[in-house]
Amino acid sequence: MARKLPPKDVVIVGLGWTGAILAHELTEAGLDVVAIERGPWRDTATDFNIGYAPDELRYSVRRDLFLQPAQETLTMRNTSSQTALPMRDFGSFLPGTGVGGAGTHWNGHTWRFFPSDFNLKSHLTERYGAARIADLTIEDWGLSYDELESSYDRFEYLAGISGKAGNIQGKLQDGGNPFEGVRQREYPLPAMQMSYAPTLFAEGARSIGFHPFPTPSANLSKAYVNPLGIAMGQCTACGFCERFGCANYSKASAHTTILPVLMRKPNFEARCNSEVLHVNLDATRKMAKSVTYVDASGEEWEQPADLVLLCAYGLHNARLMMLSGIGKVYDPSTGEGTVGRNYCYQTNAGVQLFFDDKNFNPFIASGALGQTVDDFNGDAFDHGSVDFVGGAGINCIPTNGRPIGYRPVPPGTPRWGSAWKKATAENYLSVLGFSSQGSSYATRGNYLDLDPTYTDRFGRPLMRMTFDFPDNDIRMSHWVSDRMEEIGKALKPRQMVSSRRQKSWNSVPYQSTHNTGGAIMGTDPKKSAVNRYLQSWDVPNVFVIGASAFPQNAGKNPTGTVGALAFWAADAIRDKYLRNPGALVSA
């Protein structure tokens, strides 16, 4: 039986990027806030000690910072005609846990989506006709890029993003992304100093008429003091970002940008190693009254609050809604229900170029040190003559040259033994890789719901993921792979190896931790779980913040947009909800 605690103004589930931003904004507004985080507290000097932070075996191979499947996993299948089985090891995606969440061990690519990504359905319908998107269940966000622009800006300045603007107040900027939406000002820091591989990639792309630019990076090009007064260091390009915490205070995360200020506030409290089981609703089922959580010693507690913010990883936000009865779970056979709808992913492919006469020193790297070509992303190009919608960013971002994982060898090389060693030695320094980060568009058959068979350690049903790459996205990815191969040919390698995206989705090899949707935002309460302010249509004192709100995923990493949505939701709560608690949009 849960013991009841004194009420708080706000309870936040999950203390990662969104939880920390919301906690900071709402404590500034004077509210008493508690964040409940199921993973441990982590601290840079103690947990990412410079002496062992770059321990590849511990952090990358054994995934020390990640959620362990014994704590929570999902079942997966490709289509609803199959029986889903539990993922007993995470592979395709790696959810985070602990204070800072996945934002602790990310690479740091920090994008704004294109304006046309936000009104995707109406934009594509208008430009290409409704028949072009008949197989897809894509939606508009109910929020325009222009409305979100200042929130993007706040996230970029909070995090010290290093980049080159492409379009400031409508004026195209040399060296930036000419396809991006209008921004009001330059990035807070200049782009990172390029290493050789992205420099060469950019030369090749430019030689065939493409428009490469520096990837916007949360690894800092220079020392920085953010608007909260928190100091960050210059990235040393050590090549240990993804799957690692940063020892140098030079990768933006909740730790390096918010927590030092947040933790000093008397009206904020973080409870770690405490897992929220569900949100408790009142008798009307229209108001949340508390959350129930279990602490590290197994004690169960009930934390009442006026406002409940689900700030867990997107997948877990969706599951908590399902377990709490917030909104109706989506059923693909009827097309009814909103929670679990429009689960999307990322459609990636890659190219490796083998050279004889180049030295890329791949160990000089960082998670987001690279160049991107956005010519074929989203609707930056005319889709009139192609058989798909969507697109991909083409990224040359050599994130690491780590000794265990980075062993680029040509196809046909034995997987072990002296021939493999010889091929490693010959190719380690001289391989150039780049990849496409493709959009993932929603279909009726890709969704999340609760598994009928498998349960977690508390006896709660696991979430079931039903997903395969839509044919539209596969066609898109192949078309972009053709473009990547054009860049590859321009660089005249000894050998080019193209890894194209194929059906079906396989949960084993790592692909991307960009799982989106499941609690999407929108204008229609029948098709979306939350309104344009990320407020639950069904239970208005619950806000659900994260990539769970994306109606579909763009060809870009999600974190920049997740951060912007956090500021957007915080503004809505502070400026609208607190003044007049209740539904901010009438259903």
Partner: protein
């Protein structure tokens, strides 16, 4: 509720002061509160997270453990039974209520410089605090130091009660700074070298001293290992925010900044800076240890692998984040205890409202052996224009043992 109680208490006590009775209560209370800031009373008398001034912070002295008592106006366990004159006498002479002699861990040798007016203001403030019942056993010293009578002899040898005497040759600002440093601020308690009896060596005041496993550095104007390179703004910035272009406060000084100096007025901080910058510091020339010595070469390699990612290839550091090592007085103190300590145990900088980052140095004790710590510190102390004595591996071994045993 609490506020009204405080004012009620203040009213009652001010009345007992007689001469001050007509004075504006709020002003006196505010002055007293500020005196508690200048004196950093909270540093010893408030447990982190505990009730203000209710005592309980243990001080490790070379003679054993002393615990700071409860100085809230609780009549049983605090100073509720004291009179204003008891308090004044204690601050001036170290002899408390009922004639009990205080150990000089209570810095009455410094507080004796304070004016009666300032002491009276502080008394009013302390009596306006919420009384907290918290019995503290202050004297936890081993024999023979636990015999308070021995303090008669100590005082006779080491302590001459004296009011602060302004120097008419100097500016009012200088004299204000001197008053704060020598009196309520009691900077010398940590920063002045001590005799074998634990008294300040008055001839080398503020020249640096090791205590509680930290080196409280020299804060005279000595050019290499004092504040000679620091501008007035560097000093005031450090005291206000805990950080400047050279350093970030950590260890006991981080607490001093947090509890005391960050709350001082800009004018007082400037006065302190003016005074410190005027303290003569010796200008003896030192030459750096040759870069090609074995220790220096080993140290350079260790530095590149372990330290340079944050502190920079040339010891340049990053403002507000990674202390600068090149040209930094702290790296060139005669005694390397603080340097050894932060390498072994790591250290979290203090946070202030103006500089909230509180970055931390990781512990490297598990990674570097005594000789390696010694070599890398010898390298840091003798590179980029720095010059100081080599760090012996035995000093590292000794502090490592001390840290492991929790002392």
């Amino acid at each position: 509720m609490r506020l009204s109680f405080a004012f009620a208490a203040a009213t009652a006590l001010i009345a007992s002061f007689g001469a001050n009775a007509a004075e504006n209560q709020f002003d006196q209370l505010e002055r007293g509160r500020y005196m508690a800031v200048l004196g950093d009373c909270a540093g010893c008398h408030t447990l982190p997270g505990g009730a203000p001034f209710a005592g309980g912070v243990a001080l490790q002295t070379p003679f054993g453990k002393l615990v700071a008592p409860n100085i809230t106006p609780d009549s049983e366990t605090g100073i509720g039974n004291w009179s204003a004159e008891d308090f004044r006498r204690m601050m001036k002479t170290g002899i408390g209520h009922n004639g009990i002699r205080l150990y000089p861990a209570m810095p009455y040798p410094a507080y004796s410089r304070m004016s009666d007016g300032d002491i009276g203001d502080l008394w009013v403030y302390l009596n306006a605090l919420q009384p907290v019942k918290n019995a503290v056993v202050a004297n936890q010293l081993p024999f023979p130091f636990n015999i308070r009578l021995s303090l008669i002899g100590w005082n006779w040898l080491n302590f001459t009660p004296a009011d602060f005497t302004p120097n008419p040759q100097k500016s009012a600002e200088w004299n204000r700074g001197a008053y704060i440093v020598e009196g309520p601020g009691h900077c010398g308690v940590c920063h002045s070298p001590k005799t074998w009896m634990g008294a300040d060596k008055t001839n080398v005041a503020l020249a640096g001293e090791v205590l509680q496993g930290w080196m409280a550095p020299k804060i005279t104007a000595a050019p290499r290992d004092g504040l000679g390179q620091w501008s007035l703004d560097d000093i005031t910035g450090y005291l206000k925010t805990g950080t400047n272009r050279f350093d970030i406060a950590s260890g006991p000084m981080a607490e001093v900044v947090s509890n005391s100096t960050s709350k001082m007025t800009d004018a007082d901080l400037r006065a302190v800076a003016v005074y410190l910058k005027d303290l003569p510091g010796e200008t003896q020339t030192r030459s750096a240890i040759a870069a090609d010595s074995a220790a220096m070469r080993t140290g350079a390699a260790i530095y590149a692998d372990n330290c340079s990612a944050c502190h920079g290839g040339n010891g340049e550091g990053t403002p507000k984040l990674f202390p600068r090592l090149a040209g930094n007085a702290l790296t060139q103190q005669a005694d390397a205890t603080s340097l050894i300590r932060v390498v072994l145990a790591g250290s979290q900088a203090g946070a202030t409202h103006a500089a909230p980052t509180a970055p931390a140095m990781p512990s490297l004790a598990w990674r570097l052996n005594d000789a390696q710590v010694a070599d890398v510190l010898t390298y840091v102390r003798n590179t980029w224009g720095n010059a100081a004595t080599a760090v012996p591996a035995e000093d590292v071994a000794k502090l490592r043992r001390q840290l492991q045993s929790g002392n």
